[in-house]
């Protein structure tokens, strides 16, 4: 870096010492600019997804995306077999956007299996769900899983369920339309 040089004492003539004051002033101005415009947006992450049209959804394979949506206009039997067979995590809400019950359902099951009462302890419900999904993943494998949440459920709880599915080893997560919207579509 620059240094503040002093001319030899006692000698007459021009002082050639480097004046760093303007440089320091400018540095502070630049520093102030960067501090004021600093935005820690690196904390924001993304979940990639596919919005492929229904005909592609139903016939062709999917790209390697983490999440996609299954449009209500596509009948269940037109989906890829692995998506049809995939387990569905159902999140029921009690009101005010809070989760009430966590259920699991496969195509072969006559009724959904209740995993936890999410209204009592959401953290415990997530743990129970994770344990059950890991067990299912170990037993039957597969990368696909569907999430079906009530329309009133708050987005943060949907993301919690997404996280649990992802951490349980499922790489392809499909969002199913909320039951009310699906009925309206039909």
């Amino acid at each position: 870096m620059s240094s503040h040089r002093k001319s030899p004492t006692g000698s007459a003539g021009v002082n050639l010492g480097l004046i760093i004051t303007p440089m320091l002033d400018m540095s502070f101005q630049i520093l102030s600019f960067f501090i004021m415009t600093y935005h820690p947006s690196a904390l924001e992450g993304h979940i990639p997804g596919s919005l492929a049209p229904p005909e592609i959804t139903a016939t062709k394979g999917k790209e390697n995306v983490a999440a996609d949506i299954i449009p209500p206009s596509v009948p269940e039997d037109m989906l890829l077999p692995e998506i049809q067979e995939a387990m569905t995590v159902i999140v029921k809400t009690a009101g005010a956007g809070q989760p009430d019950k966590l259920l699991l359902k496969r195509k072969i099951d006559p009724a959904a299996e209740q995993i936890a009462d999410a209204n009592v302890n959401w953290e415990q419900a997530k743990k129970d769900l994770k344990g059950r999904l890991r067990q299912f993943k170990t037993d039957s494998g597969g990368d696909n899983i569907k999430i079906e949440a009530d329309a009133d459920l708050r987005q943060e709880f949907v993301m919690d369920v997404y996280d649990v599915c992802k951490l349980s080893g499922f790489s392809k997560i499909h969002f199913v339309p909320p039951p009310l919207l699906r009925q309206a579509e039909k």
């Binding site: 870096m1 620059s2 503040h4 002093k6 004046i19 760093i20 004051t21 440089m23 320091l24 002033d25 540095s27 502070f28 630049i30 520093l31 960067f34 501090i35 415009t37 600093y38 935005h39 947006s41 690196a42 904390l43 924001e44 992450g45 993304h46 979940i47 990639p48 997804g49 596919s50 919005l51 492929a52 049209p53 983490a66 949506i69 449009p71 209500p72 956007g97 302890n121 953290e123 415990q124 949440a149 009530d150 329309a151 009133d152 459920l153 708050r154 987005q155 943060e156 949907v158 993301m159 919690d160 997404y162 996280d163 992802k166 951490l167 969002f175 339309p177 909320p178 009310l180 919207l181």
Partner: protein
């Protein structure tokens, strides 16, 4: 900044200060991330998703959608009346056509990869998120990204975790309680 107190006074040595300031400037220059403020709405509180990945900027262009807690599109779209899925779809179709035209003008041949970036508030309803995504799909978009906050390791507060000392020949056992947040004493046999 520099003060000179007469010919006999001592000049403060500003070199370390200047070095420090320049280092700080370098830090901010490296880490700064210029964002288009019109794409982000600070009122949106994103949900946390530990599995969210680092932001991918490989797309040709983006359409930012900020969905507030009430299920309303805000930000650049707040000036439009987009209260029905059909209106959202029509608006997005126009947006897509404009972006594709701009991509062709830039010399892009073939299909341009335009990504919908949905920044949905953590308190908005899943039904509202679904309606927006459904409108995007009907408008002909093929890619979307859901934005969420990642828990950066350097910001994650360490969860309280205690070490319980058991009997003299016991073990040191780290433990947490059932919900993984608070600690309670436990003896290891």
């Amino acid at each position: 900044m520099a003060a000179s107190v007469g010919s006999e006074g001592a000049d403060p040595n500003l070199t370390p200060l200047l070095d420090l300031v320049l280092q700080l400037i370098m830090f901010f220059m490296i880490t700064i991330n210029f964002v288009r403020v019109d794409q982000f709405d600070d009122s949106i509180k994103l949900p946390v998703a530990t599995s969210a990945m680092a932001i991918d900027s490989s797309a040709e262009d983006w359409v930012f959608l900020n969905l507030d807690a009430g299920g309303k599109l805000v930000g650049t779209l707040s000036g439009f009346v987009l209260d029905t899925p059909e209106k959202i779809k029509v608006h997005l179709m126009q947006e897509k056509a404009n972006l594709e035209r701009a991509a062709r003008a830039r010399g892009k041949t073939g299909e341009a990869k335009i990504v919908i970036i949905l920044r949905a508030d953590k308190n908005c309803k899943y039904g509202d998120v679904w309606k927006v995504l459904d409108s995007c799909q009907r408008a002909g978009f093929k890619y979307w990204q859901l934005r969420a906050m990642t828990r950066a390791a350097w910001l994650r507060r360490p969860e309280p975790q205690w070490l319980a000392l058991g009997p003299p020949i016991g073990r040191l056992v780290p433990f947490r309680d059932d919900d993984g947040r608070h600690a309670r004493l436990l003896r290891a046999g």
